[in-house]
Symmetry: C2
Subunit: 207 residues, 2 copies
């Protein structure tokens, strides 16, 4: 997705050790118009998969999952990492490494909102090690639902997430694919098969 | 907002002690179409206020803030409660009571994304005690920006949030106003001045 790559090049900050900061439109400040365009692109790539539900994890997955859910006309469930006081009944629970605290974080989903008849698309901001996405996929399995694919905004191929997710045997789509963050640069995959230019966007409404 | 009130009546769960669970379309599962309609309604109520930025707090504020931001054509910043590894520079920080852990939670916003020229609308899911919203307003003050209003999806008047926020001297809008959760019921304000019926929505696209 060319507009996304250009924004990453213009605003992404390579912090070293494989860490890319995209706080200006994805992880702290949200560019609403770009977020809608990304949701529409995710929806386009899974338009024929009869998706009934999008599953993501709080926090940074919520925005692209919501816009993809709107474009596909399906609801979105976000796994909770911190049990709210309203969560009293049994939940599906899995663990994944914590990006903020070190150690592990729990991912909790209420069985009320995920059914064995569901065809589920998992959406998240980053595909890095794949461990959070795999934890979400295990929740799909616990519910007896069908996982039809995984979509992420940014993939960092050098963290090996695709290999880690290979046992799931589903299609994985990334809107931007980064193959290297070495030497302070940001190097994208030459031409991802599904990459294509889309209309430019600025904050808010699409241009 | 009549469609919201009807959904709260149909799906909201009064857990007692003033706690209303709206997990089926607001706080765990998201109804994307209703979320877009709510964002448009928030935008309509602040259409003349020259808003330049929407500020919210993770987690449950993100969805209505994003759809309101899209409708107003402005970016959204969500205060982080857990410092991500990419947050290295100084931040504006305030504290508010934690709804999930007890004690206090931190709200952190990067000065990079909030400027003294901004005209800021704060959006969140609930207005209860008002303490989270007040903490966000203090961040706006730290940045020297102008707070033009506060919008929430659901107000629980009996928790006194409006009085707590009175010193901010800004307009506060709620899409649904609940005056009592006593005796297991859900009682709305008779007729809020700005309440009006809108087109019905189902999951995903607006009907």
């Amino acid at each position: 997705m060319e507009v996304l790559k250009q924004r990453i090049l213009a605003e992404g900050k390579n912090l070293g050790r494989g860490i890319l900061k995209i706080d200006s439109f994805l992880n702290h400040r949200l560019d609403a118009g770009l977020m809608v365009a990304m949701g529409e692109e995710i929806a386009r790539r899974f338009a024929d998969d009869r998706v009934t539900l999008i599953l993501t994890a709080e926090v940074s997955g919520i925005a692209p999952a919501l816009t993809a859910g709107y474009a596909l006309g399906v609801p979105v469930v976000y796994a909770r990492k911190h049990k709210p006081i309203t969560m009293k009944e049994p939940v599906y629970i899995e663990t994944a490494p914590s990006h903020t605290k070190g150690g592990e974080t729990h991912l909790m989903v209420s069985p009320e909102f995920i059914h064995e008849t569901d065809r589920i698309l998992i959406v998240d901001d980053f595909l890095a090690s794949g461990k959070t996405l795999h934890a979400l996929a295990r929740i799909v399995q616990h519910a007896g639902a069908e996982l039809v694919g995984i979509a992420c905004v940014v993939e960092k191929t050098f963290e090996g997430g695709r290999a880690f997710l290979a046992d799931l045997n589903v299609r994985i789509e990334a809107l931007a694919t980064i193959v290297s963050l070495e030497n302070g640069g940001i190097q994208f995959a030459d031409s991802a098969p599904t990459a294509r230019a889309v209309a430019d966007s600025t904050d808010g409404r699409l241009a």
